[in-house]
């Protein structure tokens, strides 16, 4: 069975290999979709009503936040430390200024207050009280982790099936086996030919996420796209696509973004350092395989 819904400004497609009745299967799939709904309501920077945007109205006072926000934010902050700020969830205002400021369903645009210069050091999380403290006004962008987190939660809901694939606009987790009891066969999108695949891989109980500059171009700048280096405030163009395979989608999501930001050499050595498999593609379609993919 297969169902498709819109969440987080993308298409979320869930497919299961089921032995359950139609009703039972549908109910379980709907529970998996709820993960996306909950994470979106918690983490969206496009909706003033989201838990994130509500919490960010309080500068200088700790605010208790739910795990749907706390956990991906904590993961993003760890990544920021690990990459010395190349990956930085405080890039939200820069994204807003680059024209990524519009809610995909309502069309409403958002303009948030922010201090001029912000980094992840301006965010503090308290493990004991599960609270968030902003030292400056800023906009948090969890675009590189929240979707992955929702995929991981949804996967947890679908564990009882013999097989399932959750594909959230090109970031996916494949659990168990396909209809023919084989590993799931996954294609990696060709960067220039929309209907073509550049490589196929086989995975089971793993996620693959791809960061690329060929979708979501910057509405304001011809050279820009939706992946922005927080330090230079520019979009890197050394790679056109970076795919990473990991045990969790949140991990694959973050590392595909980071390797994309780092480019060929550094991206490759980063993936080797953390022992992940990946496929980096340059605009000239030079393909760099990492970790025996």
């Amino acid at each position: 069975m297969r169902k498709t819904k819109l969440y987080m400004d993308t298409v979320v497609d869930i497919k299961v290999v089921t032995r359950y009745s139609k009703e039972e299967t549908e109910e379980k799939i709907n529970r998996a979709f709820q993960a996306f709904q909950k994470v979106e309501q918690a983490c969206s920077r496009f909706s003033a009503a989201s838990e994130l945007m509500q919490a960010c109205q309080n500068v200088g006072t700790p605010v208790k936040i739910s795990p749907f926000l706390f956990q991906p934010l904590q993961f993003a902050l760890e990544m920021a430390k690990f990459t010395d700020g190349l990956f930085d969830p405080t890039v939200g205002k820069v994204m807003e200024l680059h024209g990524f400021n519009r809610h995909y369903l309502t069309g409403d645009t958002i303009e948030s207050p922010s201090a001029a210069a912000v980094t992840y050091h301006d965010i503090e999380l308290d493990q004991q009280t599960h609270s968030l403290l902003l030292k400056k006004a800023l906009v948090i962008d969890l675009g590189a982790v929240a979707k992955g987190f929702a995929i991981d939660l949804a996967a947890n809901e679908l564990n009882e099936f013999d097989g399932f694939v959750i594909n959230a606009g090109g970031d996916l987790f494949a659990g168990g086996v396909d209809e023919n009891r084989n590993l799931w066969k996954i294609g990696i999108q060709h960067p220039y030919q929309k209907d073509k695949i550049i490589k196929t891989i086989e995975i089971s109980d793993e996620a693959i996420c791809t960061s690329g500059s060929y979708e979501r171009r910057n509405p304001a700048l011809p050279e820009g796209h939706h992946i922005v280096n927080p330090k230079t405030k520019c979009s890197p163009n050394e790679l056109i696509s970076s795919s990473v395979i990991a045990p969790y989608a949140m991990m694959a999501d973050a590392f595909s973004t980071i390797s994309f930001l780092q480019g060929i050499k550094k991206g490759k050595s980063l993936l080797e350092k953390v022992d992940l498999k990946g496929l980096l593609i340059t605009p000239e379609l030079q393909i760099v395989r990492v970790g025996g993919i």
Binding site: T10, R31, N167, G212
Partner: protein, 153 residues
């Protein structure tokens, strides 16, 4: 599977566990829908308070809302054919957008193999594809059409 960096794996699994242990994602499906109902009730009360200040719990009247409650359909086109959406609205909030007839599929014939790669032929198996996150732009017309139908005159 290769050995991977334990720190990140641990952070991911702890993150999932934290959601469950905090009781935010209950195992009972009945309980799972409750927060939404509570949310609606509190919305109703809030609306009512702001309207007449009595604080009495009454059902929100239809004419105060921009949109009708219910599920509405819309359709549009993407490069592979027609797409349909079912938009569910409750209390002027979009609760759910389900896609029907979505053709973002790839088949074996769409595969551009690398020179050294030989692909096994399989009978028109539909493929799952990983790529840069594509946006919902193609669906916006369809969603708008559904919203237009739901709008109260």
């Amino acid at each position: 599977m290769k050995k991977v960096d334990k720190k990140w794996v641990l952070l991911c699994s702890t993150a999932i566990a934290a959601v469950y242990s905090a009781g935010y994602y209950t195992t009972e499906s009945q309980a799972a829908v409750q927060p939404i109902q509570q949310h609606i009730v509190s919305n109703l009360q809030k609306n009512n308070d702001s309207l007449n200040g009595t604080g009495k719990k009454v059902v929100n009247s239809q004419k105060n809302k921009l949109y009708k409650d219910g599920t509405f359909t819309g359709s549009g086109w993407n490069r592979r054919g027609s797409i349909g959406v079912q938009v569910t609205i409750k209390n002027d909030k979009i609760k759910d957008v389900e896609i029907s007839d979505f053709a973002m599929h790839y088949s074996e014939s769409d595969v551009v193999g690398l020179p050294d790669e030989v692909l096994k032929k399989q009978n028109a198996q539909v493929m799952n594809v990983s790529g840069a996150t594509y946006s919902t732009q193609a669906f916006q017309d369809a969603v708008q059409e559904a919203l237009d139908q739901a709008r109260n005159a």
